[in-house]
Amino acid sequence: MLRLDAITVQFGGLTAVKGVSLSIGAQEVVGLVGPNGAGKTTLFNAISGLVRPTAGRASFEEADILKAPMYKRARMGIGRTFQIPQPMHELTVRQNLLVAQRFGAGRVDEAKVDEILSFLHLSDKADRDAATELSLSELKALEVGKALATDPRLLLLDEVLAGLETASKRSFMKTLTELHARYRISILIIEHDIETISNLCPRVCVLNYGQLIADGTPQEVFSDPEVIRSYTGGGHD
């Protein structure tokens, strides 16, 4: 479904992502972990079109996406959330989803929007102002809802659980598991919490200093000496 081939992203003299090759299959759930500054969000930005890779190739469902702008990638079926929620201002929660659906999926289906609102426990907040009247966990749910409204086949979730209290985090994790079962989409999720990622993802990829250093099951990856070194500060030669 998604295929990255030697993706490199440079900002001036800084190489944020260095030759990352990665494939994600249909309906696969993959965790992306790594220390702060490892290049995880930059890789998300490269996949979703927010930044253009300096080198490498990227395809989604066999189509080359490297030159496609961000809005086109969304319409192709790549949905994403932002680490810091970005609700569309001046709009209600429902309008946020309707706009996402109208432009991302190319049609308006209010029943589907209601279904997403209900699934994400946002039905009672549907007519609230999205930017000013939601709690953090509701904003995170809205981020997921907007992405879902675009009818994605691949969902990029950037630290959707970060900053949530334990109870909210547990509830959100359950929602994500149900989301995968219900919508049958591929998910690539960035998360710092190793226990969370191990429970959610049958496969985990580890980035360190912009390089992919491990790719396997959680047990394989988290027992890898190089991964352990990267988390304890000795991973870069």
């Binding site: 979703s48 809005y71 086109k72 969304a74 970005q86 569309m88 109208r102 190319g106 308006v108 907007k146």
Partner: protein, 328 residues
């Protein structure tokens, strides 16, 4: 009062009361027409700012291009005046293509880039003497025509035309504002990425708003040319065609639909009919002070201020909180 009642009432007043009440007073009617010309440009400016998220200091360019094109195609090609006015709007929209590279700029940079374009168009109008008449200008531009026996070239006729233009533009603005395109455009102001990530082609939508705003301004400029029957570059591309509408829109409340219209009518008519009689020379200083006060104490403008006060008055007495003007 509900919109369903308010709109028919407004239409009756604008088409049934005002033309008859002021038919014998050419001076007041001229001021009202001038106020509506400013209202049309203010609305177009507010559309670009409110929906496109772009602040322009160069709408005089579109106004001037629209007026020149309409004047030239009527005089040199014999195009009927009303069709020429539409061509003037189309010409202004085409001229806006030159502004497209500035779309990648934002805030004051975009505003200044458009200001620079306005100067370029003014220079072009001055230098292309064979077409525009150069600095000497164009005399004898055809007035608005007689249609089915009614003379639209009269003061009342001109009023009916400009009030129709402004109402049509307001209708278009309202329809866009309340559509999914309008939602996306409004959302773009605070985070363009938030809209692009869900499939919104933000650059295209912004460009469309620029073209529409330029078209509207061009049509109003064309109307003005056929009203005054004379054009010269310093007048057609005067910065006044940018500044007065901007002041009117901000005074009325540029984030609202009615703000720019009410702002223009209030600013221009009160200035010309009241302040000018009090201080014949330099009367604009009063409005300068009023605008300063408005920006300081009610930065959202007149219409949101009135709406807030009206809401407060309508609340039951026990619910009123003068500090917060909160609703129970």
């Amino acid at each position: 009062m509900r919109v369903r009642v308010l709109i028919p009432l407004l239409v009756i007043v604008l088409y049934g009361v005002v033309p008859f009440a002021l038919a014998g007073n050419n001076y007041v009617m001229s001021i009202l027409v001038a106020a509506l010309i400013i209202a049309g440009v203010a609305l177009a400016w507010a559309l670009l700012g409110n929906l496109g998220g772009m602040v322009s200091f160069g709408h005089a360019a579109f106004f001037g291009v629209g007026s020149y094109i309409s004047a030239i195609v009527t005089m040199k090609l014999g195009v009927p005046v009303f069709a020429a006015m539409l061509l003037g709007g189309a010409g202004a929209a085409v001229a806006a293509v030159a502004v497209l590279p500035a779309l990648r700029l934002s805030g004051p940079y975009f505003a200044l880039a458009v200001l620079a374009y306005a100067h370029i168009f003014k220079i072009l109008a001055t230098e292309f003497t064979t077409i525009t008449g150069g600095a000497g200008g164009i005399l004898g531009i055809p007035t608005l025509p007689r249609v089915l026996g009614y003379d639209f070239g009269s003061k009342v006729g001109g009023y009916l035309v400009i009030v129709t233009i402004v109402l049509l533009f307001a209708l278009v603005y309202a329809r866009i504002r309340n559509s999914y395109y309008g939602y996306a455009l409004r959302a773009m102001h605070d985070s363009e990425d938030a809209t692009r990530v869900v499939g919104v082609h933000s650059t295209l939508l912004k460009a469309l708003m620029l073209f529409l705003s330029a078209f509207m301004t061009g049509v109003v400029g064309a109307f003005n040319a056929h009203c005054i029957n004379f054009l010269e570059p310093d007048y057609a591309f005067s910065s006044g065609w940018t500044m007065l509408p901007v002041v009117a829109a901000i005074f009325g409340g540029y984030r609202t639909l009615t703000g720019p219209l009410v702002g223009a009518v209030v600013v221009y008519t009160v200035d010309q009919l009241v302040f000018k009689s009090l201080i014949p020379s330099g009367h604009q200083i009063i409005f300068g002070v009023l605008l300063g006060v408005m920006i300081l104490f009610a930065p959202d403008g007149l219409i949101p201020l009135l709406a807030k006060k009206l809401q407060w008055v309508r609340q039951p007495r026990g619910c009123r909180d003068p500090r917060t003007e909160s609703v129970c």
